[in-house]
């Protein structure tokens, strides 16, 4: 490892602009002639639209136009799609309801967009939006998934009878039922995985600019994957052909999944720009974000875990109902199926697993992937069940887990996945040591002496990152391939540009990707520039989500670097009159191994571009690209331990320590990886203790629509964390990377709830375990 290469704790290159206020986010963009938009949104959870009267709004000062769904349809703008086809167990395709970018006939959740107002100022647009008179005929609404699937529930989409989207299964139910029947012990648990609202600190925004003179569109947007946005807006929404549409995602202020999807607003802003012939900017208010960003989680599950007389797991049976909201967002269908049920084996050797998943439409915001996406739900279910089983069986929870760990790889689970490597015992040991697990009893006694209840809980999680390979995911219903692209351009003076289809929204790609180049080409990271987030600069990409930018995005760069290195070595060998196989690249030079013959990197680059003296037949220049498609997912895994102290008078839980021991394979920059763990763990603690999206079941109004009611984790809710890493390299990509972005949010919720239930002696505790909830559970 060099000072700036793989494994170096390098401070981030991108920081300077953010700490000096020079970051450039979508809301910071100003285009000459730019006007401001507000959306007219439904105040009702479910209603028929009998008419829209725009006359008063159109007459208001500064208003340029008010556009509605009828006009959108006239212009043949397409409906929003879900990009992953799931078939029910009876073979029928999922029931996808029609999602118009602007609702025309009916609204299906509070916040559903009905019209857009474009005006000179945002204040004028807001005032005019209030003056748009929509004639709603209110219909009964349902917000809860179980209620939506019950007989007599309000029908939300005409083509989804009983509001069911699909009824899907995985695994062999016969084998599982037999194992349950003959088990020495069965642990059964009902678990709700609470609905969350992602809350990236930068609200979503879009600036659409149609240039009539060039018949060309530009969209600045808060996106984790601008290329997919362009693809979908061209291929499905008929906004513009790809060659006439440029999508730019400048600095993006967090995403956590919520900025993967293509939402109505960017489509409508682009379309409205053509209609009004002015650039149209929309920036969400926070409450608008609460209402209309895709939410996360919202599962209701039952799990049965069968054990033999030696406490080995023989089977698992899971029944889950997932709430997908009013419309199917871009990846929503895959979250409770292939991203959830395929991880139910956890870290354990389980011969038989069966899971049945039903998904429901409700009159709530669309639900899609949020940090972890399906895997936190699986991990929570499995690890709550394991802890419960240990309590029921009267055995040490760590030893019950250890006894059932998978220890031989590759391991084929009964739910599709082939785990390619790992050492679960190592992370369990590391976490227990860091947490001084053995000293817990003494600490508990100390707490008891001061009237507090102390508890400890653990979770051994697995996740699957970098969904792959494309052919396999295609066969499972995905509408896209999940590779990544990269281009490495060596300039004539030897400096380097890397173009990548990954797109950072806080992960530090400008630094870590440059570290990979530094490692491979022996140059300083300051000579490397990472280019991303612009479809005019980077040809194609699949974006950043699912902890894929390292395992997939950097692997593509690595393959392109292989090609750059190969050509550079050929040039050097030619100029140094040596054998290509003897050339090594290090310290900014190309050297002939075992000799003192060297060629500075920049001279090699210059030679490539002057082309005065290149090997015969070689093309001038030095620029290589690659598309990388991994052979398998990567499987990060680890153990999280949480220790809490509960105040019995108030139900307040204080996290006294939190330890994360994770196996992420190769680590490029430990400082950045630690930061990802801190953030992920905090979002998991948020889910466990603080955050819960609540709709009023009768009216369908969102009750947690601002930070006054939705509890965001704050600094004083949290301890400092202890982060440990163990390492087994992933064999599925050339760098041995596994992905670290989501692990924190996957391992922490069950660890927290296992700790609190240990402290209070009641295993029945809902998330978020707010003080009131814990207090009530103690009294129960």
């Amino acid at each position: 490892m060099g000072a700036e290469g793989i494994g170096a704790r390098v401070a981030r290159k991108e920081d300077k602009r953010f700490i000096t206020g020079k970051g450039r986010y979508t809301d910071d963009m100003v285009v000459p002639g730019m006007k401001h938009a507000m959306f007219v949104r439904s105040p009702h959870a479910h209603a028929k639209i009998n008419g829209i009267d725009k006359s008063a709004a159109l007459a208001m000062p500064g208003v340029i136009d008010v556009l509605d769904g009828k006009q959108l349809t006239e212009d043949q703008i397409g409906s929003l799609i879900c990009g992953w086809m799931i078939h029910s167990k009876d073979g029928s395709p999922m029931n996808m309801g029609n999602w118009r970018p602007l609702a025309e006939d009916a609204v299906r959740y509070v916040g559903d967009a009905v019209a857009i107002v474009v005006a000179d100022t945002k204040a004028q647009a807001r005032e005019a939006a209030e003056a748009v008179s929509v004639d709603y005929e209110e219909l009964p609404a349902v917000t809860d998934s179980m209620a939506a699937l019950a007989d007599g529930a309000p029908q939300i989409h005409p083509n989804a009878p009983g509001n069911q989207i699909y009824d899907w299964e995985i695994g062999d139910s016969g084998e599982v039922d037999a194992a349950l029947a003959s088990a020495a012990h069965v642990t059964e648990l009902n678990v709700v995985n609470n609905r969350l609202i992602p809350n990236a600190m930068e609200p979503r925004a879009a600036l659409g600019h149609y240039n009539a003179a060039e018949d060309h569109y530009t969209c600045w947007t808060t996106s984790q994957n601008p290329h997919v946005a362009r693809l979908v807006m061209s291929a499905f929404y008929n906004v513009a052909p790809e060659n006439k549409l440029r999508v730019i995602a400048p600095d993006v202020g967090g995403g956590f999944g919520s900025k993967i999807y293509i939402y109505p607003e960017e489509i409508v802003c682009l379309w409205a720009s053509k209609r009004t012939n002015v650039p149209v900017k929309w920036v969400a208010d926070r409450t608008e974000s609460f209402l209309s960003d895709a939410h996360g989680r919202d599962h209701v599950s039952n799990i049965k875990l069968a054990f033999d007389s030696d406490n080995r797991i023989t089977a698992m049976k899971v029944d889950t109902v997932a709430n997908l909201g009013a419309y199917m967002s871009l990846f929503s269908s895959s979250v409770p199926t292939y991203l959830y049920a395929t991880l139910l084996s956890g870290q354990y050797n389980i011969a038989n697993i069966h899971a049945n998943i039903r998904t429901a439409y409700t009159n709530t915001a669309p639900v899609d992937a949020y940090r972890g996406a399906g895997r936190p739900e699986a991990s929570f279910l499995v690890e709550r069940a394991m802890e419960t089983a240990a309590r029921e069986l009267g055995v040490n929870p760590a030893e019950l887990r250890r006894k059932n760990f998978i220890t031989e790889f590759p391991h084929q689970t009964p739910v599709i996945m082939t785990y390619d490597g790992g050492d679960y015992g190592a992370s369990l040991d590391a976490a227990m040591k860091a947490a001084d697990y053995d000293g817990f009893a003494a600490r508990k006694a100390q707490s008891a002496a001061s009237g507090k209840l102390r508890g400890i809980g653990m979770a051994c999680y697995i996740e699957a990152c970098g969904i792959a390979p494309s052919q396999a995911v295609g066969s499972l219903g995905a509408g896209v391939g999940l590779w990544e692209s990269a281009e490495v351009r060596v300039n004539a003076v030897g400096t380097i540009e890397v173009l990548t289809g990954s797109h950072s929204h806080g992960q530090g790609h400008e630094t870590t990707f440059a570290q990979l180049v530094a490692e491979r080409l022996g140059v300083g990271i300051d000579t490397v520039n990472i280019v991303h987030g612009d479809t005019d600069k980077v040809q194609m990409g699949m974006g950043t989500y699912g902890s894929r930018s390292g395992a997939v995005g950097m692997s593509a760069i690595s393959v392109a670097l292989d090609r750059v290195q190969a050509k550079a070595k050929k040039i050097a060998a030619h100029l140094l009159e040596a054998d290509e196989a003897d050339i090594v690249i290090e310290g900014g030079e190309l050297k002939v191994a075992g000799t003192d013959k060297t060629l500075p990197w920049f001279q090699m680059a210059l030679a490539a571009y002057t082309a005065h003296n290149l090997p015969e037949g070689m093309e001038p220049g030095l620029k290589e690209s690659a598309f990388f498609d991994p052979s398998n997912f990567s499987f990060p895994a680890g153990c999280h331990i949480c220790e809490v102290e509960v105040d019995p008078d108030t139900g307040v839980t204080e996290i006294t320590q939190f330890v994360a021991a994770d196996d992420f394979g190769t680590i490029i920059n430990p400082m950045i990886v630690d930061g990802q763990v801190h953030g992920g763990v905090t979002q998991g603690i948020g889910q466990a203790l603080l955050e819960g999206c609540v709709y009023d079941p009768g009216s369908g109004q969102l009750l947690t629509a601002s930070y006054m009611d939705y509890t965001m984790p704050r600094a004083d809710d949290l301890p400092s964390f202890t982060v440990e890493t163990t390492k087994t390299e992933s064999p599925s990509n050339p760098l041995g990377l596994k992905g670290c972005g989501e692990a924190g949010a996957i391992g922490s919720p069950p660890a927290v709830i296992n700790a609190i239930t240990d402290a209070i002696g009641n295993n029945d505790l809902a998330m978020p375990a707010t003080p009131q909830t814990v207090w009530s559970a103690m009294k129960a």
Binding site: A11, R12, E14, D15, K16, R17, F18, I19, T20, G21, K22, G23, R24, Y25, D27, D28, A123, N199, A200, M201, E202, P203, D251, V252, G253, G254, F256, D285, R286, T287, H505, G506, Q507, G508, M671, I672, D674, G675, H678, G679, G680, V681, T682, Q683, S706, Y707, M708, M712, P713, R714, A715, D716, L718, S720, F721, G744
Partner: protein
């Protein structure tokens, strides 16, 4: 509509703005100082924190007219013409930011915190005093570490976060 004058980052500025214009809107839209951000509607997230006459204030909860005649410092002017303020430097060195959106408000809040507490700043105080600043990326761990490091560098903290 009124003409509003104030001193921003050491320079006299003025602009015509409606009386309902918030200070943050005036800074961003009229002065082009887009480092100050808006992350919520309810005065809680703190992405908009600036210094008004030397004290940290939420610029989304103050009319520009209220700030007329005041001296304002925003993230763009914090270093006062130097390269980086010690708090900015500490955030960089300790990875106290990820997406960067809450960062200007965090740094302005942290600077105010260090000014008020100096040598007595400890981890518990930092965490309590960050009540008005929400970050969704970092889990605060490295923000706390950054602030303690800055306090230490500027003459004081007792210990680092870890």
């Amino acid at each position: 509509m009124a003409n509003i004058s104030m001193t921003v980052n050491g320079s006299e500025v003025s602009g015509d703005a409606e009386d309902r214009t918030l200070l943050v809107e005036f800074l961003r839209n009229d002065l082009g100082l887009t480092g100050t951000h808006v992350g919520c509607d309810t005065s809680q997230c703190g992405a908009c924190v600036v210094h008004v006459d030397g004290e940290a204030v939420k610029s989304c909860t103050m009319l520009a007219a209220q700030a007329a005649g005041s001296e304002i410092t925003t993230i763009e002017g914090l270093a006062g013409g130097g390269d980086l303020h010690p708090v900015q430097k500490a955030f960089h060195e300790n990875h106290g930011l990820q997406c960067g959106f809450c960062t200007p408000g965090m740094i302005m809040a942290a600077t105010d915190m260090v000014r008020r507490h100096g040598a007595s700043l400890d981890e518990a105080t930092v965490r309590t005093e960050l009540e008005g600043n929400i970050c969704r990326c970092t889990g605060y761990h490295n923000i706390v570490k950054s602030i303690l490091a800055a306090a230490s560098e500027m003459g004081g903290a007792q210990q680092a976060a870890e």
